[in-house]
Amino acid sequence: MNPLYLEVFVIVLGIIMLMAEAFAGPGHKREIGRAGIFGLLAILVATFWINPAALNAAAPYAGFYRADTLAIFLKQFALLSTVIVLVMSLEYAPTVEASMPSERRGAGLGEFYILPVFACAGLMWMASAVDFVMIFVSLELVTISFYILVSYLRRDRGSLEAGTKYLVLGALSTGFLVYGITWIYGVTGQTNLSAIAAALPGLDEAAVPALLFGFGLVLVALGFKVAAAPFQFWVPDVYQGAPTPVTAFLSVASKAAGFIVLLRVVETFVVVPQLQAKIVPLLAVLAGATMIFGNLAAIPQSNLKRLLAYSSIGHAGYLLLGVASIGAPFAGTAILFYLGAYLLMTMLAFLVMTVVAQATGGDDLSDFAGLNQRAPHLAFAMMLAMLALAGLPLTVGFLGKLFIFEAAIEQEHYFLVALGVITVAAGFYYYLKVIRAMYWQQPANPDAPEIPVGGPAKLTIAVLCALIIWLGVYPGPLLALLP
């Protein structure tokens, strides 16, 4: 099958959902979400029958669009995370409904399931983008969907604040990106990444500072997207304020897309050793700062969503360490493996959090107190997610860190690896805080009823738990998907 069809399918699915939404009665909005889940799952299955050779290399789009294994992996990644986000959204529906005027029951709920589908299409195009113009356009498709989603709870002040912050800073980072692209274009005369890579070796010595300036600006923009310190300051507020499924989507899919673009851009520039010598230290500094900030700032948090926001910054640090080790032959695989692991564990944490927060009415750590007594299975799933995020062996999170550190040691980033180890130990502290709340502390209300979990959510939680352990012991299947 021609890879181009994948995005077309997703867009068509989105449009069909939109049409159906217009005619669906107030009680049937959730059917649209379910239809989205099945549709995306079908497309996810279809990705395994992709034939990249079906792309016409001579076609005009060939300079924009590439369907290598890296791209296909990220497409699968985007589809899977969107499916899980939709499952989460189904659980989250009561909160969305509550934020709408009561006389218009069910209004706005349908779009809450549809916008992620369009964002997903954007992410999939981004995965294949090998031209700065294409990168920019698909990035905007994603970001604009997110502008709407983040501020979706329009009667919730936190959500509106988050939306405003995300809009302003997103626009700012877009500005950086475009400006950086113009500098690079000015120096090389190209927007296509492979054409840039081809033009770089013959570059005039005097043009190098301008080129690096352009690269630096692009790096700033991508730093915003992946939440790298010092461009991370929007993350905690936005993550905390946004509806939980959107937060999960932001922290997984949006970050992953940012990293894929970063990987492609960096790979383009490091072909010249002289540039590599300048770029790698820059990335190393970013990685170190991000690891330190994310992990240390997470320690005092008492709100789980905020804690996960900081932890997602910390994980961006480890991923950046992988990017900074780009010279190691294994670095690319290590980064992608980490992303895959990150998807599983973060989504599991957010999914359990969505379910529990619906029942307890909040996502502070105190709302999780004594969860073990009220819902032992949910508590166990959350514990597993936390342990995997902390990097305990026999979970997939450990292998992710192991591969990254190995690549980094091979590239002799000894200081960063030592820093990584210290921050991982700090990570143990705050992830165990969640476990402590669930297992050590007494529930606020011991007689609270059981927490209801929807069928799809139950199934997804079970599958994610199984995958985290299975891939932690036997990483073969995930590695087989990677280039």
């Binding site: 062996p393 991982v424 130990a425 165990l432 476990i435 050590w440 012991v473």
Partner: protein, 489 residues
């Protein structure tokens, strides 16, 4: 199915049953007993003549990295597997019937046991490390939920300390892996050892120090020992038994497995540093032990102190010292487990462990007193207990090191370490006197019941094993000697 795999799976499955529901005590005792019998069977069916790793099963998981789920056991692993199953059985048996959230308590104990057994039975570096980490979380839960005193603070401290140590160790292991010449990259401990013997694997001093201190933190090497006494004092007795008795041995086992074959030169190069640190363990911590006013803390410190002897065996780096060290892992594990079991029993009877409030307990609970006496003697290292045999071997080994050229550092250190025996006699006998003899303390009265049958038989089992191997150390030495036979006497 490989018998070693069953050894790991039995506690895991039992733990799953415990969490799922009914009769956790009965099913745990059953599972632990089955495991004990299985490990005895493995010892009996191990062919000493052939030696090396037996019962090997390999399942390649990720060939590009050489990660493979491989199990196998040589004499050293078998002795430690026996220790693990013995102590697990005793710990499960000792657990009081009225423990709250019983299912989870037993499950945590069994998970620690499974982690330790997995680590001892793995011949793949990845799983060797991973299984040990698996035991970290149940420890955290056991101290945090069922601990005493400042349990939450202590649980944090222990978990972070151990996690940090593990990550340092992990760096060392990655360094070790990267030092293997390209093309031979493997995580198979057997191959790594052979490369080490052949001199093809020279990772250098940095990797050695990472591994030494990574393991050192897990073993409570001075000055990284402060987590241990508090943890053991706060943990419920069965958890302390398993952790001090079995899990802490993982670090020493790791040093025997990896450091001895691969880093012989680095061990010698840094021998003086290690001598100073281990004297810190023996003398400094020894005096700290004497100063303790509570039995649980005293036992915790004494267990830290005894680790110094094990390190002395390591730096000796000859057959006597290392065999002594290996035997000591076994002997010390049983002794400290018996002591913690009795300590928990005293606490349940009298409600206190402060020496000032105890005294004359033997008059009320004679059986408890007798058993504690035996365990205390074993801890001091009286002849007739396996502890004696192991310490003698270590001292001989360390003293014999470099006799040529007159008096040297090893001999000075050994002489100083011998003083540790006196120290341990002082604190153990003093504790015994303060608790069981003399005038009655405020917490002691005639209404106290004697030792419960569960604890009694569990402790008798542990002591019997100690005495048996004390009088016939050859039973275990036959397994241990061939492992280090390549080294000088």
């Amino acid at each position: 199915m490989s018998p070693l795999l069953s050894l790991i799976l039995i506690p895991l499955v039992t733990a799953a049953f415990c969490m799922a529901g009914s009769a956790p005590r009965r099913i745990s005792i059953f599972g632990a007993a089955a495991n004990l019998i299985l490990s005895l069977y493995l010892l009996a069916s191990y062919n000493i003549e052939i030696g090396g790793f037996q019962f090997v099963s390999e399942n390649a998981l990720f060939p590009a990295y050489g990660i493979s789920f491989s199990l196998g056991a040589d004499g050293l692993s078998l002795v430690l597997l026996l220790l693990s199953t013995l102590v697990t059985f005793a710990a499960v048996w000792v657990t009081p019937k009225e423990v709250k959230f019983g299912g989870m308590f037993y499950a945590c104990l069994l998970l620690i046991s499974a982690g330790a057994i997995g680590a001892f039975a793995s011949i793949d570096l990845f799983f060797f490390y991973a299984f040990h980490e698996l035991a970290l979380i149940p420890t955290f839960l056991l101290i945090g939920i069922w601990g005493s005193g400042e349990r939450q603070r202590i649980a944090w401290k222990v978990t972070l300390y151990l996690a940090f140590g593990s990550f340092i160790l992990l760096l060392g292991l990655i360094g070790l892996w990267l030092a293997v010449p390209e093309g031979l990259r493997t995580l198979d401990i057997r191959l790594l050892q052979q490369l080490g013997y052949a001199g093809l694997l020279t990772p250098g001093p940095v990797v050695y120090l990472l591994i030494l201190f990574g393991f050192g933190i897990l073993i409570a090497l001075f000055p990284f020992h402060t987590w241990a006494p508090e943890a053991y004092a706060s943990a419920p007795a069965p958890a302390a038994m398993l952790h001090a008795g079995v899990l802490k041995k993982f670090g020493l086992y790791g040093l025997l497995r990896l450091a001895v074959p691969i880093f012989p030169e680095e061990i010698q190069q840094f021998a003086h540093l290690l001598l100073v640190l281990l004297l810190g363990n023996i003398l400094y911590v020894g005096y700290v032990t004497i100063a303790q006013k509570r039995l649980d803390l005293m036992l915790g410190y004494s267990s830290v102190m005894h680790m110094g002897y094990a390190f002395l065996g390591l730096v000796a780096l000859n057959q006597l010292g290392l065999v002594g060290m290996a035997l000591m892992l076994f002997a010390h594990g049983l002794t400290i487990a018996a002591l913690f079991a009795l300590c928990g029993e005293i606490n349940r009877r009298t409600g206190t462990l402060e020496f000032a409030r105890l005294g004359g307990l033997a008059g009320v609970t004679p059986k408890l007193g007798l058993l504690f006496g035996f365990a205390a003697m074993a801890s001091i290292g009286l002849p007739g207990f396996a502890t004696f045999a192991s310490e003698i071997l270590i001292f001989f080994g360390a003293f014999a090191r470099g006799t040529v050229g007159g008096f040297n550092w090893f001999q000075i250190a050994t002489a100083l370490a011998l003083w540790g025996v006196v120290i341990s006699a002082i604190y153990m006998l003093r504790a015994y006197r303060r608790i069981f003899w003399g005038t009655r303390g405020s917490a002691v009265n005639d209404a106290l019941a004697d030792i419960s049958p569960g604890t009694r038989w569990a402790v008798i089992l542990l002591l019997a094993a100690l005495i048996l191997t004390g009088f016939r150390p050859g039973l275990l030495l036959d397994y241990l000697n061939p492992v280090f036979a390549y080294l000088p006497q």
